[in-house]
């Protein structure tokens, strides 16, 4: 399987790294609040799509942008970037923080989104299934809040090298810019009805950050949504189970039915 090409774009003055692989219909992937795992696990999606994985400002190989202090700023950033990339209609996938950004993008640009997948998305307040506030988790408990099977971290150097910790600190600060005040985006429920694309909600049944019980609430608010869950999986299905990426690919590749 071929790897990514890393391109750089200046978006409104911010040096933005974009991973690009494959050909075909554009599939844009908004990552979560950390880039430590890299994105090679997504490469099977490039077999059917042109897979585009931009690094958010303040994350991974993109530069910081202190002026981004709300989720809407990310949406506007990506409108600029997609203009540069010449991407019009697209399929969109967002994971965790990126899931919330993708939801807002689809709320504001519903006609551009052919299909949408939200993976353990951040931001919806479901009183019976409260999220765990990421900033309240002690450092040493972060891994067990991310994945159900800690053996995924076997072989990682312990303690982690200072450079690794500093990069996580930088990404946590970028996340804090938009999420320190609350683990919820309280305006989401008011506007999710605007999403018209067929939408797949992907969830690990052992997610400790955003419990799987939230999936039904998202599906209730988005008009054309279905849910797929994976047993024994935590917050990162595409990392934790080999079944997740093919399931997402198959949903996204389906043609819109005549009745949709």
């Amino acid at each position: 399987m071929a790897g990514y090409r890393e391109d750089r774009y200046e978006v409104n003055g911010i040096d933005t790294a974009v991973l690009d692989a494959g050909d075909g219909e554009p599939l844009v992937y908004f990552h979560g609040a950390g880039t430590a795992f890299g994105f090679d696990h997504l490469l099977p999606l490039a077999e059917r799509f042109r897979l585009i994985v931009p690094n958010h400002p303040g994350f991974g190989a993109s530069a910081d942008d202190p002026a981004i202090d709300g989720l809407h700023d990310y949406v506007l950033h990506y409108l600029d970037l997609l203009d540069q990339l010449g991407v019009g209609e697209l399929v969109l996938v967002g994971e965790s923080l990126g899931g919330c950004i993708a939801a807002w993008f689809a709320i504001e640009q519903p006609r551009r989104i052919r299909r949408l997948a939200l993976l353990s998305p951040f931001g919806l307040r479901v009183p019976d299934h409260p999220s765990t506030d990421f900033f309240s988790i002690p450092d040493e408990q972060v891994p067990e809040h991310l994945v159900a099977d800690l053996s995924l971290f076997a072989g990682a150097p312990m303690p982690p090298p200072p450079e690794f910790l500093a990069e996580r600190y930088r990404e946590a600060a970028s996340f804090a810019r938009v999420a320190w005040h609350s683990p919820y985006d309280r305006k989401l429920p008011r506007w999710l009805h605007r999403i018209t694309a067929p939408t797949l909600l992907v969830w690990g049944e052992e997610d400790r950050l955003h419990p799987v019980g939230q999936a039904a609430a998202w599906a209730d608010l988005i008009p054309n949504a279905e849910v797929i869950t994976f047993p024994g999986v935590g917050h990162l299905p595409v990392i934790e189970t080999p079944e997740a990426v093919p399931a997402i690919a198959s949903f996204l590749a389906a043609e819109v039915s005549a009745s949709a």
């Binding site: 202190p66 202090d69 900033f135 002690p138 450092d139 200072p162 450079e163 910790l165 500093a166 990069e167 600190y169 930088r170 946590a172 600060a173 996340f175 804090a176 810019r177 320190w180 005040h181």
Partner: protein, 403 residues
Amino acid sequence: MSALDDIKLYFFHSHHYIPIPDDQERFRTTVVDYPNSQYDPQVGHALYERHLRTMKRAAELGFDGLAINEHHSMVFSMSPTVGLLAARYVTATDDIPIMVAGTPINLQYPNRVAEEYAMLDVMSGGRMEYAFPLGTGMEYWANEGTVNPVTARARFRESLDIITRAWTEDGPFRYDGEFYTYRYLNVWPKPLQKPRPKCFIVGTGSEETVQLAADHDMGYSIVFVPIKSQLRAFDRLRELAGERGRTVDPDDLVIVVMAYVADTDEEAVREARPHIENFFSWFHRVTPRFLVPPGYVTTAEFLRRVSDAATAKSTEATWDDMINVGRIACGSPDTVAETIVAWCKEAGCGRVNVALENGDMPEWKVAKSTTLFAEQVIPRIRARLNGGGDDTVDRSLVTAGVK
């Protein structure tokens, strides 16, 4: 006469909540998430009374000023609203200056701080001095956690601008900032001292806070960081002030010294050491996460800190580590005086905030050490800095009492 001949020695007090529980090992921190069920208000009341006695004693013994500070949700401090303590001490004393060091102005509405501090200055007849801290990273997690640490420094800069303008310009005037919009900024009362009370920035010596002091024509009060960092910060402030056509007076530079005085060096170490040790191991018990909330420092600064093993293990420091890292003067009146004189000369500072109560020190030790400091150390320091002493202080004496 030297430039330091009118050195000012302030009695600095942190207002600890003193009791250490028998099962203290089970607590990872004594800040932020240390349960407030451990706080007994009856004990707290007795401690506020004790701390009042201590402050009044210091004023009566002839210290040049009193200095108090503010912290939130930690056993280290029972002073989450330092203005209230200041009001108490203004009333309890007659003519001694009081340095309030201070409410983190990025965690509070700046107009409120300007009003409260101006009110104190008027009530006290112009005895107030203010030092403005950014607030430790710890302050952002607990009750003040509604303020985003990512914006801490920008808010601090804007708040400083608002407070100084509110004090020095006639209102009402309009203020349009990044964080605050005032249609009629018009604090009432205004400070008694003109153009404003003497002010300092409190900091660890970072370039940013030193620049703020230079930009606002304020002094710099440096916290308990390694001595070489303190010296570097003061040098930088002199340099920046020089670029702005201003001279930094020794009276603009404050160091903090932990001190304990007894008749001999041996007696001082024997009496003080257990309390200074638990000052670090209990009263400063904190996990790294609480020290640096996201965005509170730059990524580069974070990397520097995590790369510095000594920082990461501060609560496990040995006695020698403690002595070597900072300013702890523990010994006979001669030893303590010589130590402080050496530090002042080295730093070119004309002010020392002397912390004489640290850790779970019993009141008799605080009273003894404070009395000896006032009656025997202060005259020795003045004599030495007024040319009566030997200018060439042997650095080995600095820690002689504690090795």
